[in-house]
Amino acid sequence: MAHMIHKALEPFSVMGYHEGDSRAYTEKDLLGHWSVLFFYPADFTFVCPTELKDLSEQYDGFVKEGCEIYSVSEDTHFVHKAWASASETIKAIPFPMLADPAGALARQFGVLLEDEGQALRGTFLLDPQGKIVLYEIHDLGIGRSAQELLRKLQAARFVAEHGDQVCPAHWHPGEDTLTPSLDLVGLL
């Protein structure tokens, strides 16, 4: 199975709902800044608002990193609007909610369940050139963490700016000293 890392965004045009307004969104909207495409199965479900609320609460952190979030489901933008009218949580979502009833976006990213007309829980981080730098696809019942996604965005930005000559640091005060390993002896 081929992976999608560095796959470029393909042209698309879908309607989207954002803070009371609806308009068409294309691939051009996702270029020039970091983007998260956040697929979820359907509006008016229980796990989805939890995830979307979590993302809303962390949204400022994503903006600070120069990243816009686009949630995507296979509903129409009218359904997004109805959901926002019915739920204070959804009404408060600060990012565009893209509508993909024809499945074009979900199919492009390989998360469309054709028989069910729903998307798997897929998260895709695209760099400012529209290339996928990381993604995760969950089975329907497994929720995602906005905080974890933000950490990954920060790491991706760091690597884009500074190259990959770094190691992530996981500080564990009090841990034992690592056994010495002279495997870089060729440098001496």
């Binding site: 190691c167 640091a169 500080w171 000293t177 002279l182 001496l188």
Partner: protein, 221 residues
């Protein structure tokens, strides 16, 4: 009064017979005496470092240790930075103390430590002329601190480069810091990735660097 070296274990579990076997041929290349001067606290890592240094000193007749408590010698406290213990400086009869290790050089950092010994012992691989020329372009005092985690190979390479520069240019000091031991440092510089180089206490430079990149960066300061 320096602390007694024999007050600490003569051997360290960190130096396995296999590792000893790898270190001995390197240490056999040393051409002059080296003193491993260490400022020790009363913490567990200081005890661990004392045993490590005693064990290292036993691997070559040209290596010896000197242990001190902070506050005994203000010059030493300044050179080695007594605020982060244990702190070990590599000295020869001519002095130095410009290659310093904070913490215990386990994991990949054993390479940096061995590299520092080879530098001081006159046994390091010669550098090419352009690199030596670049190192000579550093014309003002520079304090380089490489914050590392012991599992990071990019870190060890940067530490080796920084310490080589420090050895070749008396205006430069290079400290390896096992950031895991100093949470206030992690907090102050918000260190989430390593290596992170801190220059003169305020300029931070993330990521590994080649020797050329490092010398170019330091010469431009």
């Amino acid at each position: 009064m320096p602390l007694r070296t024999d007050a600490y274990p003569a051997e360290s579990p960190l130096l396995s017979p296999e590792l000893e076997g790898q270190l001995r041929p390197l240490l056999d290349k040393l051409a002059r005496p080296i003193v491993l001067v260490c400022l020790l606290g009363e913490d567990q890592k200081s005890g661990e470092m004392a045993a490590f240094l005693n064990h290292m000193a036993g691997l070559s007749p040209l290596l010896s240790c000197k242990f001190c408590a902070p506050g005994e010698d203000p010059v030493l406290d300044g050179e080695l930075d007594a605020s982060m213990l244990p702190a070990t400086g590599i000295y020869t009869e001519e002095g130095s103390g410009r290659m310093v290790f904070h913490g215990v050089p386990g994991g990949k950092e054993i390479t940096g430590f061995a590299g520092a010994l080879l530098n001081a012992g006159g046994a390091a691989k010669p550098l090419d002329k352009p690199t030596m020329k670049d190192i000579a372009k550093i014309k003002r005092p520079v304090d380089v601190r490489v914050c590392v985690s012991l599992a990071c190979h990019h870190c060890a390479q940067l530490v080796m480069s920084a310490q080589r520069v420090a050895w070749e240019n008396p205006l430069v000091t290079a400290h390896m810091i096992d950031a895991n031991l100093y949470p206030e440092l992690v907090e102050r510089y918000q260190i989430q990735r390593v290596p992170l180089m801190v220059i003169d206490g305020d300029k931070t430079v993330p990521g590994g660097k080649t020797m050329a990149e490092l010398t170019s960066l330091l010469a431009r300061l």
